[in-house]
């Protein structure tokens, strides 16, 4: 028997934070590829600490629903799961290349395949582009458009910027959009000045975040000048300094994220049958539509 654990942050304050986690886990459940699929959280239940014991499978694939390698993937999750002998060096990663480590755990007789985060997987590049397609409602969007991929920046974690730049470079190489630019919340080039970095009139802005929350629904829209007050919502596209900004909201709400989770597990040796094809075929939407902005998103700052 094999089990999948989708490990996410969750929130004590905002119930919506875990919606994408549940949605992607459900999509994977539907494929029947795993005998058990379980969500686990830092701030919700089951906690990372207690998830392994809820499984009957001997073989467990843990995929962190996080954007970058860093504090959570290197310290918190391995510690709370009781991964025995874990050392971040085992990933042998340059900051975006972690794939998998196979370890045992301290509280159960199981083999755990601890995977790299979804955010740095190559398949994530397609999800970002897919998000741009959805927000513009144009499956061929690219020509005449700029694309901005937005992340935290290095203040919290150096690898966070690396992940953003990694996908930005990959999209740029595809020559699909006229311009592609990485932007950050807490370092240069800053998302506040988004229009300074693009000549294209139309710019799609995709935040590389796993869930919508304070940053994607309050900070970024206000900082970019889409709205004076996030509670009033904003238009998609919104006119800013002679540009049209197509703001996509968190990429993690995109259906196709389930595919990235599966790819991670497959890279770690999970037997998936045709699950990836099923998930790709079914990925026709998102947990929250990017244009579904009425300013009532119940977002609250968690700060941790």
């Amino acid at each position: 028997m094999q089990a999948l654990v989708v490990a996410a942050h969750g929130s004590h304050l905002n119930p919506d934070a875990s919606d994408p986690t549940y949605a992607h886990a459900d999509a994977i459940r539907e494929t029947g590829a795993f005998d058990e699929v379980r969500e686990a959280f830092w701030k919700e239940e089951p906690h990372f600490r207690e998830v392994i014991r809820t499984l009957e499978s001997e073989e467990v694939f843990v995929v962190p629903l996080f954007i970058s390698e860093g504090y959570f993937t290197e310290q918190v999750i391995p510690r709370e799961l009781r991964l025995e002998g874990w050392d971040p060096e085992q990933w042998d990663s340059d900051g975006t290349s972690a794939t998998e480590v196979t370890l045992s755990v301290g509280d159960a007789n199981k083999t755990v395949h601890y995977c790299g985060p979804v955010g740095t997987h190559d398949a994530m590049t397609d999800v970002i582009v897919g998000r741009a397609e959805r927000v513009t409602e144009d499956p061929d969007v690219g020509e005449g458009f700029g694309l901005a991929v937005v992340g935290h920046g290095t203040e919290r974690n150096e690898n966070s910027a690396k992940a953003i730049e990694y996908h930005t470079d990959r999209i740029r190489e595809r020559d699909r959009f006229d311009e592609v630019q990485a932007l950050f919340m807490d370092e240069e080039p800053e998302v506040d000045d988004v229009t300074d970095f693009f000549e294209s009139e139309d710019v799609v802005v995709v935040p590389l975040f796993v869930a919508d929350g304070y940053h994607t629904q309050e900070d970024i829209p206000e900082d970019m000048g889409l709205t004076d007050d996030f509670r009033l919502g904003w238009d998609v596209p919104a006119a800013v300094d002679g540009h049209r900004i197509w703001y996509a909201g968190a990429v993690g709400t995109e259906d196709l994220m389930a595919d990235v989770v599966l790819e991670r597990a497959a890279d770690a040796g999970a037997e998936l049958g045709d699950a990836i094809e099923i998930v790709r075929a079914g990925a026709g939407g998102s947990v929250t539509e990017p244009a579904d902005v009425d300013g009532t998103a119940g977002t609250t700052k968690t700060g941790d």
């Binding site: 929130s11 004590h12 304050l13 905002n14 119930p15 549940y22 459900d26 959280f41 830092w42 701030k43 919700e44 239940e45 089951p46 906690h47 600490r49 207690e50 998830v51 014991r53 809820t54 009957e56 504090y71 310290q75 918190v76 510690r79 509280d107 941790d304």
Partner: protein
């Protein structure tokens, strides 16, 4: 999973299984005896003395102890999962003897489970043995009880185990689940569901639509029912409402609950939670009183300050244990660790005796979550909104409560 699944007829399945070796389960014993070539079998149940039969007679005899056969078929074929928490929980649901319980009848579930039971009973380590064991039912009693349905409570959940076919039970059970407050309600008045995933949504918010970050808070909304769940679906549904409770309950019964006490958990924390191990011993006591008592959380707190240093606050009476401070308590501890680093000061302020008492009433009302219940015009209650607004109008200045700090050197 046992061979039993290979055949859809319980008697056929049992005959196929006994060819491979002894069957001993819930009072039913059937074993091949080396006696001649065509094979004879010894059969015994609590109501049938051990006798031997040839294969051809055996089928007819088994029909007479059908309840033991269908019971065996359900547990070994449908449920399976020997030694798992899922199986133990489903057995608990119908008061069948479970791991960790002293069982009176020697012929109860043998194999691993009974061996463990015997070992733990001998060590005296098995929790809550006698009280539970007295209530556990053997096959004939369960057969009757499952026609009516056997009810159990798990936090705010009420679970009923029952036979699918009441008139001619074939051993197959289904499970119904609802809120304890709805135990006397007509199912027609409840929202009825059968998809375990719906439970996730039900458990997300309380009766007033507020988010429930602690799944075991006693604030589960009522008004719904799941009916006709399979055993697996029941376990999944309970797992959505009260995650990991079954797994930890099972470990506790085996005497294997791995408790992490406050200090171990606190010292493990890093990042913004690095500070929580600075929380004073007294404050941990107050914290457990604030967060972990039964009125706030249905998990029974088994963690203490540290090994050998128990907290005075009552851990609660719930069926499922809490094995370490949860994330909500750790987050709260961070707040208190920071607040407790402030030094105490003495303030002077003017209040009438009633106003002083009113402060107490206000704190009490908030702490008990009672503010919503105080009637608009109940001016007799110190936590009434008009009373609070009046006190604020009278005693607050621009910075809040008007008071003088005593100089530090005092």
């Amino acid at each position: 999973m046992a061979d039993a699944t290979d055949s859809s007829d319980p008697v056929d399945a049992l005959l196929a299984t006994v060819d491979d070796g002894d069957v001993a389960f819930d009072g039913l014993r059937l074993e091949p005896v080396a006696d001649g070539d065509d094979g004879r079998f010894a059969l015994e149940t609590p109501t049938l003395d051990r006798s031997t039969f040839g294969r051809s007679e055996l089928r007819d005899v088994l029909e007479t102890v059908e309840e033991y056969v269908t019971n065996w078929y359900y547990w070994q074929g449908d449920v399976g999962g020997e030694g798992t928490a899922r199986r133990a929980f489903l057995r608990w649901c119908e008061r069948a003897p479970v791991v960790g319980e002293a069982v009176t009848a020697p012929s109860a579930e043998t194999t691993l489970e009974a061996n463990r039971t015997a070992r733990e009973t001998a060590n005296g380590t098995a929790p809550e043995t006698t009280a539970e064991a007295d209530q556990s039912l053997q096959v004939p009693q369960r057969q009757d009880a499952l026609r009516d349905g056997i009810d159990r409570e798990w936090g705010q959940l009420c679970i009923t185990a029952r036979f699918v076919d009441v008139d001619e039970p074939d051993g197959v059970r289904v499970y119904d689940l609802w809120h304890v407050d709805d135990a006397d309600s007509d199912v027609a008045d409840l929202e009825v569901y059968d998809d375990p995933r719906t439970a996730r949504e039900i458990a997300t918010t309380d009766e007033d639509g507020r988010y429930r970050p602690l799944k075991t808070a006693p604030t589960l909304p009522s008004g719904w029912a799941f009916t006709g769940l399979s055993g697996d679906e029941l376990v999944e549904t309970v797992g959505s409402v009260y995650p990991a409770t079954i797994a930890n309950w099972h470990r506790e019964r085996l005497g294997e609950l791995d408790v992490d006490h406050w200090l171990e958990t606190a010292e493990r924390q890093t990042g913004i939670y690095d500070v929580v191990d600075e929380l004073p011993r007294d404050a941990v006591e107050w914290m457990a009183d604030a967060c972990c008592v039964d009125s706030q959380c249905l998990r029974r707190r088994e963690w203490e300050y540290e090994e050998g240093d128990e907290l005075d606050v009552d851990g609660g009476d719930g069926p499922f244990p809490c094995r370490e401070p949860c994330s909500l308590v750790v987050a709260a501890a961070r707040k208190w660790a920071i607040l407790e680093s402030e030094t105490e000061r003495t303030y002077e302020l003017e209040l009438t005796t009633s106003e002083f008492n009113q402060l107490g009433e206000l704190i009490d009302a908030v702490a008990e979550g009672r503010t919503d219940e105080i009637r608009e015009a109940d001016l007799g209650d110190g936590a009434n909104r008009y009373r609070a607004r009046y006190l604020r109008a009278k005693r607050f200045d621009d910075d809040g409560l008007e008071a003088r700090k005593r100089p530090e050197e005092y």
